[in-house]
Amino acid sequence: MKKVRSVEEAIRYIKSGSSLMVGGFGGIGNPPTLIKAILESGVDELTLICNDAGFPHIGVGQIITEGRAARLIASHIGSNPNAGKFMHEDKLDIEFSPQGTLVERIRAGGVGLGGILTDIGVNGLVAEGKEKVVVDGKAFLIETPLTADISIVYAKKADEFGNLIFDKSARNTNPLVAMAGTITIAEAEEIVPVGELNPEEIVTPGAFVDIVVKSEGVNWAWAWE
């Protein structure tokens, strides 16, 4: 059951044209070592699914800035002007989802549900092209589930079975993204033998995780630095 691999071995699963789901919010909780290796591997035409477009030189934002994504499903791109620029130049196709809906779609995909019913945006632009259903007299949108060929996440600690513990606000979308990949790769600050994590504290059970790699830490400067 040992899932620990080298970064090189792990990212072989990510190919040009793959759908790639990335955990994190505003760069925080994006897996830095995996993103660096993906950039170096030269893959492109990716379909990215993540909360937001990050910042131009931070986290998942770099994949967009370097033109490696053809499609993006996210809730917000405001902090990465390159995403808006490529969208206007028709180089990047973007699907927006309200933040709360996006993460529930990811969760739905991750736990084998056929979608979710939500009234968020039911009377606005968000509802365009979506099916509605009425439950107890109230209208809801049917929002479809999201999965990806590969999910990459960042964890504070992993054990060799792939059980994961996250770090403060760097948890954000990571436990959800971890569930929604056909192959899930977790990048952890620390990897410990099986049995060392307290079962009460594990957030993501190892069943969802296929590969664990050791993080080399953040290799960018934060916007506030």
């Binding site: 919010f25 925080i28 927006f96 309200p98 968020i120 948890r171 957030v203 934060w222």
Partner: protein, 217 residues
């Protein structure tokens, strides 16, 4: 928003008066963030962030920032005793369930019915809605902080929004550099006028009618 520091601070200070002891609060980016600075020490509240913290505290001291502890805008924060961390579905579960007592946010336009447009200017600002739709539609009270007019002097409070809506009939209170206006079932109601303006000034700068009977200052 192109307004002076003192005006931004005055709006934030007025907004802080809406915050009551025990509230669970979400503050938007920009002027709303400043509101936290004006909440009296004896008013205990819990700040919620979309990225998964309930119990956000003040900014850390320089040099004590933790990159893995930030607000939804990616700025380092601290937490207060009783704080909790959770994933993004729970962050929005709290929102969608209506557990936020108040959200304070900015706007491009607000209509006399309380419709809010604050996430898209087609062809110009297309940054995505982030959590704005969830927050505007589901918080118990929605307070908008903005300039009374846009940079060309056009009213931002209008009969009908021209921009796509974030959420309809959601705004409860509008606080601007000129006035405080409540959105009621009967329409807009002018509650306060900033000292350097008259009711007439506010009328001229507003694209919708309002009642003045309830004017308190």
């Amino acid at each position: 928003m192109g307004m002076g520091v003192s005006v931004r601070e005055a709006i934030a200070k007025r907004a802080a008066e809406e915050i009551k002891d025990g509230m669970i609060i979400n503050l938007g980016i920009g002027i709303p963030t400043l509101v936290a600075n004006y909440i009296p020490a004896d008013v205990n509240v819990m700040f919620h962030t979309e990225n998964g913290v309930l119990g956000m505290g003040p900014a850390p001291l320089k040099g004590e920032e933790d990159a893995n502890l930030c607000n939804a805008g990616g700025i380092p924060i601290t937490v207060v005793p009783g704080a909790s961390y959770f994933d993004s579905t729970l962050a929005f579960g709290i929102t969608r369930r209506g557990l936020l007592d108040i959200t304070i946010l900015g706007a491009f336009e607000v209509s006399e019915k309380g419709d809010l447009a604050n996430w898209i200017v087609p062809g110009k600002i297309v940054s995505g809605m982030g959590g704005a739709v969830d927050l505007a539609q589901k918080a118990k009270k929605v307070v908008v902080l903005m300039n009374h007019t846009d940079k060309h002097g056009n009213p931002k409070i209008v009969r009908e929004c021209t921009l796509p809506l974030t959420a309809e009939k959601c705004v409860d209170l509008i606080i601007t550099d000129m006035a405080v206006i409540e959105v009621t079932e009967q329409g807009l109601s002018l509650l306060e006028v900033e000292a350097s303006y008259t009711v007439e000034d506010v009328m001229k700068a507003t694209g919708a009618e309002f009642h003045v009977a309830d004017l308190v200052k």
